[in-house]
């Protein structure tokens, strides 16, 4: 019996090698085929991807909890060490903010009065969904995060994701219980913005670096370092006026922007439901993997 098994194995050995090489070629072809398919038929590939993320979302949700807790503990320890200094800082900041509040109240009244005079059509007030970050890209090629809310909660492709600091990115894939946010810094991110003061429009284009650059700027536009940049609302998908970042450098004609968001501390994001009706058909999706619009 043993002898027969050995001889059968000896007979099948070349076949096994051949099968292995064949399966290697087959799987390489399958991978490349999938990459090509992702380029030309991104909808199908995205549905596949959303299916996987939706299935794994509960597991990721549980797994991301301990790391969030650990980060919170570290943060607590750090703030404990500097309690006195922080208290002092907060006190001065509070004083300053109270002054700002007074200014803001006056401006609000003034603004309201002007709006009434001009009979201005107001932008719809965005409703929002708050969700927790349960996954990040974990790789060198894309800058995305996963949230634990999906279409069941009202998230739609194209909506803006913000936190307290400013614009984080926008929704590119929405599953039933998970959502992928394309961060401002991703290679495929394009956000219509304006300079807050000069109202010069531009497109903020990510390139996987920490400082996305301003493109499609008017020929003679000047960008001063430190200038604030906000969303323009062009295209109607993002609410206008969301803080984005400030210009940090204008080397060789390319202005770069430092986003306000602290990328390492993304924990809860708000997804803004702003979309003006009829801008994007419901089925259209664009992803980190998809072609640029």
């Amino acid at each position: 019996m043993r002898y027969r098994g050995a001889s059968v194995r000896r007979l099948t050995l070349p076949v096994t090698g051949w099968v292995q090489r064949f399966s290697f070629a087959l799987l390489v072809a399958a991978s490349i085929g999938m990459l090509v398919l992702g380029r030309i038929e991104s909808n199908f590939v995205e549905r596949l991807r959303v299916g996987v993320t939706d299935t794994v979302a509960p597991v990721l949700e549980a797994l991301s909890q301990p790391s969030a807790t650990a980060a919170a503990i570290v943060e607590d320890m750090r703030s404990l060490a500097d309690l006195h200094g922080e208290n002092e800082r907060l006190r001065t900041m509070n004083e300053r903010l109270l002054q700002w509040q007074a200014v803001a109240r006056t401006l609000e009244q003034e603004n309201l009065a002007y709006k009434e005079l001009l009979n201005l059509v107001d932008d719809p007030h965005p409703a929002f969904i708050t969700a927790r970050v349960i996954g990040d890209a974990g790789g060198a090629f894309v800058r995305t995060v996963l949230l634990n809310a999906g279409t069941d909660d009202g998230v739609r492709v194209g909506q803006a994701a913000v936190n307290a600091e400013g614009l984080v990115g926008r929704v590119v894939e929405a599953g039933r219980r998970s959502t992928r946010i394309l961060l401002l810094t991703d290679l495929n991110s394009r956000i219509p913005v304006v300079m807050e003061k000069t109202r010069v429009p531009a497109i903020l284009a990510g390139d996987n670096s920490d400082h996305p650059r301003l493109t499609f700027t008017p020929v003679n536009a000047l960008f001063e370092p430190g200038e604030r940049i906000v969303t323009s609302g062009h295209g109607g998908m993002l609410p206008p006026g969301l803080p984005v970042g400030e210009v940090v450098s204008t080397n060789s004609g390319v202005a770069r922007v430092r986003p306000y968001v602290d990328w390492s501390a993304l924990e809860y994001l708000r997804v803004l439901d702003f979309a003006l009706p009829g801008i994007l058909p419901a089925t259209r999706t664009a992803g980190p993997a998809g072609p640029l619009p």
Binding site: F24, L35, D136, E267
Partner: protein, 171 residues
């Protein structure tokens, strides 16, 4: 009293260990650790796993399983679907082809082998990502990722060796 069925079940579970470990590492790759600037340079944990198991127990991590893990990681991480899958099966193919060289050598040889394989894997992924996106993707984070993976290799290999000793001795 343990029945034959239970034994068989236990055997199946033991046999699945390398696959489950590799899959868990794929999952771990996307868990946010909230360490500043860590996400773009997250070590290539699945490359480590595929390298290790292809040397020691390639029979327990068939190529289709490796492909599945790559597909799974691509779907979760948001990378072009097929990219990690391609890199992982190439890593496995290369390691199995050179398996005789690594087997029953010292750990240093094994680690050195990883230092040879990991840059190759990084280059393949960079090449295909650049082709896919149509621009030369920044390679700097990839370099850091590579360093981290090489530095982390001994820890993960040690863990795998423990698992292998306790779980897979009898199979």
């Amino acid at each position: 009293m343990r029945s034959g069925l239970w034994y068989r079940f236990e055997g199946v579970i033991r046999g699945l260990t390398p696959f489950i470990l590799t899959l868990s590492l794929a999952l771990l790759t996307v868990v946010p650790l909230r360490i500043p600037d860590f996400a773009p340079v997250t070590p290539a944990l699945t490359v480590i796993a595929v390298y290790y198991w292809s040397i020691y127990r390639p029979d327990l991590l068939p190529m289709a399983a490796v492909f599945g893990v790559g597909f799974f990681q691509d779907a979760l991480a948001g990378t072009p679907l097929g990219l990690t899958a391609l890199v992982l099966i190439i890593v496995q193919y290369v390691v199995i082809a050179q398996r005789r060289f690594f087997h029953s050598k010292t750990f240093l040889v094994e680690w050195w082998g990883f230092m040879m394989v990991a840059p190759g894997a990084a280059f393949v992924s960079w090449l295909f990502a650049s082709l896919y996106f149509g621009v030369l993707v920044a390679a700097r984070p990839l370099g850091f990722q590579l360093l981290l993976s090489v530095a982390l290799y001994p820890c993960i290999a040690w863990l795998f060796a423990q698992v292998q000793q306790y779980m897979l001795r009898s199979t």
